[in-house]
């Protein structure tokens, strides 16, 4: 073995020591110095350099034992990684960019809020358009950070512009249900634009789409955590200020809350990216906990519904509940898949997932059957069309997922097929959301 090969082995060894974060760079220098000194001493007594390397490494001890010992002495290091990253130049710039975009959306939200104070403007406008002041900023942030090619960025801008124009030019009636539907679906439509920016415009690649799916899950978790912290902060602020300045409470709620909520969208997105390599992703962990529980719940519900029937009290809201349920099941499937090791075969978790999916499908078919009876009875409304459409879109997805999972479990298919199916299905969701935002309102006369 040549000296160059030993050098390569030394750097491999050093990398192994540094992995895990318990051993700092300077500690690795110290250990490497020790290793080199040992090697030269052994060489001096006549050993070949590769033999010297092996003995020196052996004397230093198993890497995992060394790092464990360092971790015991420097437990704080492991935790510090979970806190703020060390602000070197690149990180500092990324922090600055993020904060700038967070401030932009926070200010935009305030502008939007002030526009609602103009006579003639309605609260409904604010509710419908609020996502337009936040998510395009997030998309712009990613477009910048990911250096999205100009032409693709232009497409994204056009899509956002078209959506903004359309929903604001639609002559919604007062309290129209199509207005509410748009308010719910517009953020989702914009989230797909965020996704396009997130993957730098490379929307065809399945792997990049999966990245975006993972990002979405982690982002939701970070956002929920920030929201929890924010709720405590606002609650305490109100409690502290109320005795001395009762008027201040309203200021806090109207100024701090919307801006904070908007800014947190950007902050959460940044955190996901910064922490990606450091913490175990949380969405798959939560999925692993809840998939079996949901499987049991769904199986039980399906049996009960099957025995009792969906009953006469069935109403429109219930279909939304089932949409939500299917969405959750889909989430469990997707995040379960996102964490699975592609090379491994089928496992117990895939079986549990299959039970959950099949039970959800059975449950949903029972509900759909009664829904169709009802539509026949009362005709279509915008809400029913939206709920039913989403239900069918989800049902198709889950049915194919179930089929692919069966093939996987029987050893006739690969796990990657399930993943491809999910990433390939994203445009269907995007298309459906676009239909609800752009097509349903005119069809139902903006009522």
């Amino acid at each position: 073995m040549t000296v160059a090969m030993v050098e390569a082995r030394i750097s491999e060894w050093r990398a192994a020591v540094l992995r895990g974060g318990a051993v700092a760079d300077t500690d690795a220098d110290e250990l490497e110095g020790h290793l080199r000194e040992q090697i030269s001493e052994l060489e001096a007594v006549g050993l070949a350099v590769d033999e010297a390397f092996l003995i020196a490494v052996k004397r230093l001890g198993e890497v995992h034992q060394i790092t464990a010992e360092f971790a015991r002495e420097h437990g704080d290091r492991l935790w510090k990684q979970l806190a703020m990253p060390r602000p070197d130049d690149g990180r500092l710039r990324s922090l600055g960019t993020m904060l700038a975009f967070a401030v932009i959306t926070a200010v935009l939200i305030q502008l939007a809020r002030m526009l609602t104070a103009i006579p003639g403007a309605s609260e409904a406008w604010f509710v419908r358009d609020v996502s337009l002041f936040v998510l395009p900023v997030l998309a712009a942030y990613f477009a910048l950070v990911r250096r999205m090619p100009g032409r693709r960025a232009l497409v994204a801008v056009t899509v956002v512009g078209a959506l903004a124009l359309a929903v604001n030019l639609f002559p919604f009636a007062d309290g129209a249900s199509t207005d509410v539907l748009v308010a719910i679906h517009l953020p989702v439509a914009l989230w797909f634009v965020v996704g396009a920016a997130y993957v730098g415009g490379d929307i065809r690649a399945s792997a990049r789409r999966m990245d975006f799916i993972r990002f979405t899950g982690e982002w939701a978790i970070y956002y929920a955590l920030i929201a929890l912290g924010g709720a405590v902060l606002v609650g305490l602020t109100i409690a502290v200020l109320t005795p001395i300045a009762p008027g201040a409470v309203e200021q806090v709620i109207t100024w701090v809350l919307p801006s904070g909520a908007a800014g947190a969208v950007i902050v959460a997105a940044w955190l996901v990216e910064v922490k990606k390599s450091v913490i175990e992703n949380l969405a798959p962990v939560l999925t692993a906990i809840f998939t079996p529980l949901f499987a049991v719940m769904l199986l039980g519900s399906a049996v009960v519904y099957g025995l009792v029937g969906s009953g006469q009290e069935f109403d429109r809201d219930l279909l939304f509940v089932f949409d939500l349920l299917l969405l959750v099941v889909l989430g469990l499937v997707v995040y379960g898949i996102s964490a699975r090791d592609g090379a491994r075969g089928a496992g117990a978790m895939d079986a549990v997932r299959l039970v959950a999916v099949v039970a959800a499908i059975a449950l949903d078919v029972l509900v759909l059957a009664s829904m169709f009876e009802r539509v026949g009875e009362f005709g279509f409304t915008a809400n029913r069309a939206a709920a039913l459409g989403l239900n069918l879109v989800l049902l198709v997805n889950l049915a194919v997922t179930a089929w692919l999972t069966v093939r996987l479990l029987t050893g006739r298919g690969q796990a990657v097929r399930v993943e491809r199916w999910q990433t390939g299905y994203l445009p269907v969701f995007a298309a459906w959301v676009a239909v609800v935002v752009l097509v349903l309102p005119p069809i139902f006369g903006f009522a």
Partner: protein, 115 residues
């Protein structure tokens, strides 16, 4: 002869401090001195020395400074502090007590085995 791991661990602190009382030193040299003193009887995984040195540094028993070896290699030199010397005195008393206690029981046989 293999010395029990726990005993080596207990010896480690006074051993390192006592070696540093002889003068400023660095990791590799400290280990060489340990081998020399024990005639190789004290088995020490080299890598374990460094976390120990860091712990002693954190406790203020030793100070550390980066320097260079005569060949120009970067090296971290350790030096005992006043607190370290006080700690060593304390440890020495404890070891002397342990030694005396066991010695009172084993006085004869220990010297036989040692001979």
């Amino acid at each position: 002869m293999n010395i029990d791991k726990d005993l080596v661990a207990a010896m480690a602190t006074p051993l390192v401090l006592a070696i540093l009382v002889e003068g400023t030193s660095y990791g590799y040299a400290i280990l060489k001195r340990v081998r020399e003193l024990s005639g190789g009887d004290v088995e020490w995984t080299d890598g374990m020395l460094y976390p120990l040195l860091h712990r002693l540094e954190r406790l203020g028993y030793i100070g550390a400074e980066w320097g260079a070896s005569p060949e120009g290699r970067r090296r971290r030199y350790y030096e005992i502090t006043e607190a370290g010397r006080a700690q060593l005195v304390e440890q020495r008393t404890q070891w002397a007590t342990a030694n005396r206690t066991l010695g009172a029981l084993w006085g004869q046989s220990a010297s036989v085995a040692g001979a």
